[in-house]
């Protein structure tokens, strides 16, 4: 059963010939989102007016989302600041569907994070679900088997009436899609802050594994090779704007309604994954591209412009879910679960056999040519004749004005220390104990288990660490134990206070998390979530963040391999905090060496690595007191690098049995989390620390200074461990001992905290709001 477009119906087909003859025809370029000068440029490129179908293509490919027109000039720094040494492990860098990193033994890993913020606000379940679907297709199209997902999420205030709707929908959407694909969810973030109220952030990361020789790229080479579209049928998804292509509508009947949202079909995608992997194994595809934003427009123009430069397709061959779609709409449709591939004629039969085995529908659309043109026909008449590069790569580039916000200085001057709120700083042992409990039962530091238990972390049988540990860890090679670790992080409050340092802090934290698990950090992906680029102050935040992240990558020697920019995240003219989500990938020779975040063995020594300064600005504690001002904690990437080396060496050489980095909530949060991980407490004394770093107990517990971690060291390894830290000149201090029998966390100067009470405080928060 194959229904192609109903060519018997009469469209007013706007052919290239017609366009040449009717130069003055009115076109709805503004409604399609093109600016006047952009429309002018299209005319200039074509040396005539565009056809309706061409207009559809240019408008969607030149949109902010597809062309990165506002961000491009800044993103270049990621490439410019990459040294040869950083490139050592890069097999595929920025620009392809996802970057590919060499992890040794012929294995490679590809990973990328992307946003699906706006769709998730409108329809949380489907928006989040299709976000996972989209990023996973990027991974497949590199030739990899997807092996895990992660989901950094940001919501409005936990008690806002709309938050439960979004949390329920988004979490079940991520789970509903990812669980059905058989991809373990190995980490993410859940942050609540009223700045995200009307604009939740749903970022999704996927990681895939492949052999070096399996890398596939999105290019259409080999004149005469066939172009095929396969997977789900094309429907009217995501083409709201295209209905203004009036010149295209039916003569006799109005097109049927276009869907307001896209609905995902995870089953179709799971079948697509297995089918693609079988195609790769049989070596029957030359180039492949997933269909995401801008659908066929994007796939044809990118494949063509990355290849030998020409492609000729017949659009009526596209299998449709809704036969009333017009050619322009078919080109713009964002229907999910579709792929496009280039296949040699001699492989066509083998290709079809594999698709038939998996019951996947396909249609041959055309072939690769050497004309340098992308030509699209509708029932034999040419409706698109363009240079594909002008569509895919030569879109407009803006140097948008940017300007440091007028309020930045006064915000930075408003320190938490010395502020009115500071008067109530906890000091007595009872107050400090209450403060610890308040901290770990806050929306941002409470247990995220209500979320994570809705995700399958076991499927595929290779998950060595997942939530609540610092990084997700996946075995890649069953024989050797070769594997990877991943963590994503961002702190919107730090970035609001200082976007340059905030971005560096995000990288530092993700890097630290990966090292804490025992993996050597190798590469970076990022999802830059910001407000409107047309607001110069937002644009400044963006520019500063990219500058900060790219500088930091250079300092730490880890390249950005790919990512995503999400702009216009604002409601009622108010932008979200700048939120650069940074994902770091690290590698293990043997994941058996991975370090979990909780201690277990009675009597092991607890060490604090790094030094603590009075850095409470932007902290979780200040947030709980309703304060946001001052400069965020200082980032010293030299120290981060040293800390990372110590953690990785210690893990590899069996010197530590547990490690947990310090980040939001500082030492207090880390001690509680490491105790609750396996329900094993500790006795801690911080007097020496207070003396050494010149701080009080409250600061020691709640400051968020970077470059720190706590580790549990077996007695037998203590000397070796201390010697290593000393040799490297890295601050280390024994602050306590693991106490398996006591059932409590005992900190000198703080009332004892029973683990049962801590667990109850930590785990009851999300159920209270969302069950």
């Amino acid at each position: 059963m194959t229904i192609s477009a109903d060519t018997s119906k009469k469209f007013n087909i706007d052919t290239v010939e017609n366009a040449a003859k009717t130069p003055d025809a009115e076109l709805p370029w503004a409604e399609l989102g093109l600016k006047e000068d952009e429309f002018g440029k299209v005319n200039e490129i074509l040396r005539r007016r565009p056809t309706a179908a061409e207009l559809a293509m240019y408008s969607v490919m030149w949109s902010e989302h597809c062309s990165y027109k506002s961000s491009k000039v800044h993103l270049r720094q990621f490439g410019d600041k990459v040294t040869d040494q950083m490139k050592e492990h890069l097999l595929v860098g920025i620009g392809e569907n996802a970057g590919v990193v060499d992890i040794g033994d012929g294995w490679a890993v590809t990973f990328k994070v992307e946003s699906h913020n706006h769709p998730s606000f409108v329809e949380p379940y489907q928006g989040a679900a299709t976000g996972v679907g989209g990023i996973v297709r990027d991974i497949i199209s590199m030739g990899a088997r997807p092996v895990a997902v992660m989901d950094p999420l940001r919501f409005g205030a936990i008690d806002h009436p709309d938050t439960a709707r979004l949390v329920h929908g988004i979490v079940s959407g991520i789970g509903g899609y990812g669980n059905s694909l058989g991809l373990p969810n190995i980490g993410g973030e859940v942050v609540f802050d009223s700045v995200y109220q009307g604009n939740p952030l749903v970022n999704a990361l996927a990681v895939g594994v492949l052999r070096h020789e399996d890398i596939r790229l999105a290019n259409a080479s080999g004149v005469g090779n066939k172009v095929v579209l396969f997977g789900a049928r094309t429907g009217g998804d995501g083409i709201g704007g295209a209905s203004v292509l009036a010149s295209e509508s039916f003569d006799d009947a109005k097109p049927s309604k276009r869907p307001a949202v896209q609905v995902g079909d995870p089953f179709a995608e799971k079948v697509l994954i297995e089918c693609c992997l079988e195609l790769f194994k049989a070596a029957v595809v030359e180039g492949i591209q997933d269909l995401g934003a801008a659908g066929i427009s994007c796939a044809t123009s990118e494949l063509a412009s990355n290849g030998d430069g020409g492609m000729h397709v017949e659009l009526t061959k596209v299998l449709l879910r809704d036969p009333s779609l017009t050619p322009g709409e078919i080109l713009m449709s964002e229907s999910q679960e579709r792929m496009m591939a280039v296949v040699k004629p001699e492989n066509v039969e083998a290709f079809e056999a594999i698709l038939n085995k998996w019951d996947v529908e396909f249609s041959w659309l055309g072939e690769v040519t050497d004309t340098g043109r992308l030509i699209i026909d509708w029932d034999g008449e040419t409706i698109v004749d363009v240079d594909p590069r002008t569509v895919a790569h030569e879109g407009p580039v803006y140097e948008r004005p940017y300007q440091r916000p007028s309020w930045q200085d006064s915000v930075q001057a408003d320190e938490f220390t010395g502020s009115v709120q500071d008067a109530g700083r906890p000091a007595s042992s009872a107050e400090l104990a209450a403060a610890v409990v308040e901290l770990i039962s806050s929306p941002n530091l409470c247990s995220k288990e209500w979320v994570t238990k809705q995700y399958d972390r076991y499927v595929q049988g290779n998950t060595a660490l997942a939530m609540p540990d610092d990084a997700g860890v996946i075995r890649v090679d069953e024989e050797t134990g070769l594997g990877v670790a991943l963590s994503t992080d961002a702190n919107g409050r730090y970035s609001y206070l200082n976007p340059y340092d905030g971005a560096r802090a995000a990288l530092a934290e993700a890097y630290r998390n990966v090292a804490t698990s025992g993996a050597k950090p190798l590469a970076v992906t990022d999802c830059l979530n910001f407000g409107s680029p047309e607001d110069p102050e937002v644009m400044w935040q963006f520019a500063e963040s990219v500058r900060g992240l790219s500088d930091a990558c250079q300092e730490l020697g880890v390249p950005v391999t790919g990512g995503n920019v999400s702009l216009y995240n604002q409601t009622g003219g108010v932008a979200i905090h700048p939120t650069p989500v940074v994902g770091v990938l690290g590698v293990f020779d043997d994941v058996a060496r991975r370090t979990a975040s909780g201690w277990k063995e009675d009597g092991q020594a607890i060490y604090l690595l790094g030094t603590t300064a009075a850095e409470l600005n932007g902290s979780e504690w200040a947030n709980l007191r309703g304060h946001l001002g001052g400069q965020p904690p200082k980032v010293d990437l030299g120290l981060e690098r040293q800390l990372g080396e110590i953690l990785v060496n210690a893990s590899r050489d069996g010197m530590i049995d547990a490690a947990h980095d310090l980040s939001e909530g500082g030492l207090a949060a880390a001690l509680v989390e490491s105790s609750l991980r396996y329900g094993v407490g500790a006795r801690v004394a911080l007097e020496e620390l207070l003396e050494r770093d010149g701080i009080d107990l409250f600061t020691a517990l709640f400051s968020e200074s970077h470059g720190r971690a706590v580790v549990a060291v077996p007695r037998s390894e203590e000397v070796r461990f201390k010697d290593m830290c000393t040799a490297r000149g890295f601050a280390h201090l024994r602050i306590g001992v693991v106490d398996a029998a006591g059932g409590q966390l005992e900190i000198n100067g703080v009332d004892p905290l029973s683990l049962d009470a801590l667990r109850e405080a930590n785990e009851s928060v999300l159920p209270k709001y969302f069950d």
């Binding site: 059963m1 329809e123 789900a232 429907g235 998804d237 896209q262 609905v263 089953f267 229907s335």
Partner: protein
């Protein structure tokens, strides 16, 4: 006790993965006469007492707000049946 039946279907323009899977399975079982299947929901609300206009209005509103997701579904029927 009287019941009100509410029928909810995916909007026609929206992809219905479940219906798609079913229409694929039917011919394999020898059911060949069907070209499309869509799967929706049927709710039976038991009314406490008599079905007044007010109760019916409540059912209609519940159908639009709670029982269906207006972004992707249509309420196709709200109807009283006697048990």
């Amino acid at each position: 006790m009287p019941r009100i039946v509410v029928d909810v279907m995916p909007k026609p323009e929206i992809l219905d993965p479940q219906g798609k899977a079913i229409v694929g399975a039917l011919p394999r079982l020898g059911f060949t006469g069907f070209s499309a299947v869509r799967q929706g929901k049927r709710f039976e609300l038991t009314v406490d007492g008599e079905v007044t206009e007010a109760v019916l209005a409540q059912a209609r509103e519940a159908a639009e707000t709670l029982l269906s997701n207006p972004v992707i579904e249509d309420v196709v029927k709200v109807e009283v049946v006697e048990a």
